[in-house]
């Protein structure tokens, strides 16, 4: 079943075309990350899906309903974690969540949610006494208190320390296990890599690329980069495959025939008894691929504007 359909979505603010024909779908139970630089159209797209903004054109269906006609029963099924913390500073964590739980017909247990986001020790603390990371965890709690089948997470771990981020990731993974559909925006590529089944990269209001984090932009079939250092006095020309030397003295081999070339190198190393120090073999990371996609899109937009 498809949870979200976005087809040729368009939105402008005056002369600025924030979203220009964006299309993608999200299946039920799937976690999809919307990636893109600031101004790419992520937040506008998200706010249209959440029912906060109206669109200028295109078709949008979220849980079978056009969000511009969002009603109470639709909102019962949708959880939203906004970018910034927005809660009454004089209420406690438990009061804030009890208040919100009262809006829903079948909310989660308040104390369970507090426990789930790791705020048990702060349950009776007022919001204005929480640290930035704790407030962000409260935001996540706020989004899931209604027990939604679809959750929007807008940069959910911004400002988290590494340990809190891992905790938040585990929480999202747990929600996925329970069948919650999740739309995520993030600037952290490791977060998209860890959580998303699929990513949609936006640039200048358009979809630049879609795919799984492992295959985005063909990164799973991209050339393998092998890197190692040779002991002093060993001539790189004696290697069985052509290599270049970088400014740190490392040998670099870029190959499309990875098994054959890796085998040739390691066999040569064993035969010659010459170590390949610090040997690593990598393909472009999600971040490398993402940056290459958005840089390319940005360059295209600039040249298009000039021509």
């Amino acid at each position: 079943m498809t949870a979200i359909v976005v087809d040729d979505l368009r939105k402008s603010y005056g002369d600025t075309h924030a979203v220009r024909g964006v299309s993608f779908t999200v299946d039920e139970g799937e976690c999809v990350a919307l990636l893109g630089p600031n101004g790419a159209g992520k937040t506008t797209t998200l706010e249209i899906l959440e029912g906060y903004q109206d669109r200028d054109g295109g078709r949008v269906e979220v849980l079978g309903t056009d969000p511009r006609h969002a009603n109470r029963s639709w909102r019962e099924q949708v959880g939203i974690v906004l970018q910034g913390t927005a809660a009454d500073p004089y209420l406690t964590v438990r009061e804030t969540l009890r208040r919100t739980a009262g809006f829903y017909s079948s909310p989660r247990d308040v104390d369970d949610v507090i426990d789930l986001v790791g705020l048990t020790d702060k349950a009776t603390s007022r919001i204005n006494k929480l640290s930035g990371g704790q407030q962000r965890r409260l935001d996540v709690a706020y989004g899931i208190i209604g027990n939604p089948s679809l959750l929007f997470l807008d940069e959910p771990t911004t400002g988290f320390d590494p340990s809190a981020r891992r905790g938040a990731w585990q929480l999202v993974k747990n929600l996925r296990t329970l069948g919650t559909t999740i739309i995520l925006t993030t600037h952290y590529m490791d977060e998209a890599q860890a959580l998303a089944d699929n990513v949609v990269v936006l640039g200048n209001g358009q979809v630049v690329a879609t795919g799984s984090p492992d295959s985005l932009g063909g990164r799973d079939t991209a050339a393998l980069e092998i890197r190692f250092r040779l002991p002093d006095g060993v001539d790189p020309m004696s290697l069985p495959v052509p290599a270049t030397i970088d400014r740190h003295g490392f040998c670099q081999v870029t190959t499309d025939d990875d098994i054959k070339d890796l085998n040739a190198l390691t066999a040569w190393s064993l035969r010659q008894k010459i170590p390949l120090e610090g040997l690593i073999a990598t393909r472009p990371s999600l971040e490398d691929t993402y940056l290459s996609l958005v840089d390319h899109e940005s360059a295209s937009a600039t040249s298009g504007a000039k021509s």
Binding site: E50, G51, Y52, R72, S73, R75, E76, V78, I80, L82, G84, A86, A87, D88, Y90, L91, E95, R99, T100, G102, F103, Y104, S105, R126, Y142, G146
Partner: protein, 258 residues
């Protein structure tokens, strides 16, 4: 939870939040009383006796006018500024993303302000009667309560309407304070007014409230008849309806861009 119970719950949480902010709560309660005491002390004997009536204690006039000031301060100023703060901080946006009906959220804010306004009024009346011995007939309690309740709701509606005109938190005090204090002065809050100013103020929302309480109502030393000031109540009702229509048309849940 039924919608009505939801409003009750919202009011309860708004009240908790209000009383936990001692500065705001203290200012709302103490400032009108302090102002009342100072004005009684400084204007006693200096006020034109003919404006009040011979032998009338100045506190007899200042009690209802300060009460009106306090109600307008709580309902118009506090509600408008609170809504702007909550809108710009994203609190309203977040609430709008839940299944809670819009009217229950706004109803909670208004309901809480009406409770505070009613409490401030009660404190002001008890203070004026016990400290200055002003006259307040028991038979006029009901019309006084209805007048205060109607004025509170009307000023809350005006507060919601005014909040739609304020683009951000920084510009809020300037936009609210100027018309607020102009209204306070020309409506005869500090001293009795007559003539053209009184005629102009009669068309504005504060003057009918003061007139309903003092000239026709329970605080009047001259009026021994009914304390129901129907004309002024009608005027407050019209202001409330007009403000509600304006607010419904222009209310914004998400932060303004400007």
């Amino acid at each position: 939870m039924t919608d009505l119970a939801l409003v009750g719950s919202q009011i309860r949480y708004e009240q908790k939040s209000y009383w936990r902010n001692p500065l705001a709560a203290g200012f709302t309660f103490m400032f009108p009383l302090v102002l009342f005491v100072i004005l009684v002390g400084t204007t006693r004997g200096a006020t034109d006796a003919t404006a009040l009536g011979a032998g009338v204690h100045v506190a007899q006039y200042l009690a209802p006018s300060m009460l009106s000031y306090a109600v307008m301060s709580v309902c118009l100023m506090s509600v408008s500024m609170s809504l702007v703060r909550q809108r710009e901080a994203g609190v309203l946006k977040r609430l709008r993303g839940t299944p809670a009906p819009a009217w229950s959220i706004i109803g909670g804010i208004i309901g809480s302000a009406v409770i505070v306004a009613t409490t401030v009024s009660l404190v002001a009346i008890v203070f004026a009667v016990s400290v200055y011995g002003i006259s307040f007939p028991a038979k006029d309690i009901l019309p006084t309560a209805v007048t205060i309740a109607l004025a509170s709701v009307a000023f809350c509606a005006l507060g919601v309407a005014v909040s739609t005109l304020i683009p951000n938190v920084d510009s809020g005090p300037a936009i609210v304070n100027v018309p607020f204090f102009v209204l306070v002065f020309i409506s005869g809050t500090w001293y009795p007014i007559t003539g053209t100013m009184a005629h102009i103020a009669a068309w504005l929302p504060l003057r009918p409230f003061i007139v309903a309480l003092y000239y026709h109502g329970a605080f009047s030393p001259l009026n021994s008849g009914s304390a129901w000031a129907w004309h002024q109540l009608g005027s407050l009702l019209l202001w409330g309806i007009g403000a509600t229509v304006f607010a419904v048309r222009h209310f914004q849940w998400t932060p303004k861009k400007g």
